[in-house]
Chain length 225, copies 2
DNA sequence: ACGGATGGCTAATGGGATTAGCTTGTAGCT
DNA sequence: AGCTACAAGCTAATCCCATTAGCCATCCGT
């Protein structure tokens, strides 16, 4: 009986992939064992049980999300960074619904729990976005929670099929980004008239709908760092 | 052996209460049976199984949430309505975390699923909030999804203990309300200078922090219906 | 080669969901 | 009042899944 060459990381990676495929509720030790080519009890040599597996998947997911968001905002600031972060986050959750779902409901057991560190990494990426807006120091925590709630809520509702109506979901998300930008930007001194509202750029099916006001169109709209 | 006088509604209500107490993950048929005073298999005379029970709890929760939000916004408009709706929603989720959690991940099976109707009722309440802002007809769906994402995200993150930092959660939520108000209001013609930002009213432990700008302080801030 | 640590296996336990089939209140009818 | 049919309970049994115990093979360094 040849060895399967497993280690905890491989088991967790396979578990995360499986969770993405079948949903976190149907992620079972037996199914995962079959997937990696061993019998069920053998998994316990690598993870301590289903709960432990879920925690580790959550850590993996948070780190991957942090990488995705952190990478996406490189070189951007202000609204561009906000849009990049939000899109990257949502893309990650939509691409990996199972592992992201594993992150909800897990609590770090202590201050040195890797879960806490992974969580902090993701938050840091969003904190970087806020630096492009004039958010007072005392409000950063609140803004962070708000931003996280917004992204988390949209992503989970979408991946749970919570949006049942006709309007295009991508359009809604771009609207959400503009909304968040207004909510953050309105804290700064504003030097322009009313926001143009909903005039769509009619760019067909491309990604740049809803005022893709990139660097060229925003000079001085909101003080940036 | 006397009859317990159960019916589906009683079972579901007890199940929802139990979910609030022990969490949806630990809601078990055996525990519920014990709670209502029958043996486990007897529950199957009233609900079709655990999945069915969860769906019914979700329907109950959505209807209760819709009632709470709908009732809270009576007589308010604009920012006051937004704040009332958001607070009522969060209060409901915090008071009934288990039954609200039952709503995530359930999909309506068809157009006549009571789940779809309950979902619509909750959405309607939020739609009423939007009527106080100048949201173009074409954007209502987007705004609705955004608002729902924001509330849902905050509520679920909080009830999952996803906020691990120091800042006060009630403060954060009031900040969130102000943020949403800015995001929605900035679509209207605006007749005033920059929003005052974060000056707190320092009202001690009361509920009216973060610019409790009620009817008296907002005349003409945003066109209301 | 050798010996411990490691990773895998079979067998067994226990809990929870669900079903089958029986029994008995109970409501409604005569 | 008595009969009947259905509704609501119950016991027993089954299946699936997580987890543990204890055994055996493999690998790696000596």
């Amino acid at each position: 009986m040849p060895r399967a060459g497993l280690d905890p990381a491989a088991v967790v990676a396979a578990g995360a992939a499986l969770a993405d495929e079948v949903g976190p509720a149907r992620l079972t030790m037996g199914l995962l064992a079959e997937r990696v080519g061993v019998r069920t009890p053998s998994l316990y040599k690598h993870v301590h049980g289903l709960d432990d597996l879920n925690r580790r998947i959550a850590v993996l997911a948070l780190n991957e999300a942090a990488d995705a968001v952190g990478g996406a905002i490189q070189g951007y600031a202000g609204r561009d960074a906000l849009a990049a972060a939000a899109r990257a986050f949502r893309a990650f959750v939509v691409a990996h619904p199972g592992r992201y779902a594993a992150t909800i409901g897990v609590e770090p057991s202590g201050p040195d729990d890797p879960l806490a560190a992974a969580s902090k990494r993701l938050l840091s990426a969003f904190t970087a976005v806020l630096r492009g807006y004039e958010v007072p120091e005392s409000d950063v925590d609140h803004a962070l929670r708000t931003l996280r709630s917004l992204c988390h809520g949209f992503a989970t509702l979408q991946s749970a099929n919570g949006f049942q109506w006709s309007a295009d979901i991508d359009d809604s998300f771009e609207w959400l980004i503009a909304f968040a930008d207004r909510g953050l930007c309105a804290m700064c001194d504003r030097r322009e008239g009313p926001v143009a509202g909903t005039s769509r750029s009619a760019a067909g099916s491309g990604a740049g709908r809803y005022l893709p006001r990139s660097a060229e169109s925003d000079g001085g709209r909101c003080a940036r760092s």
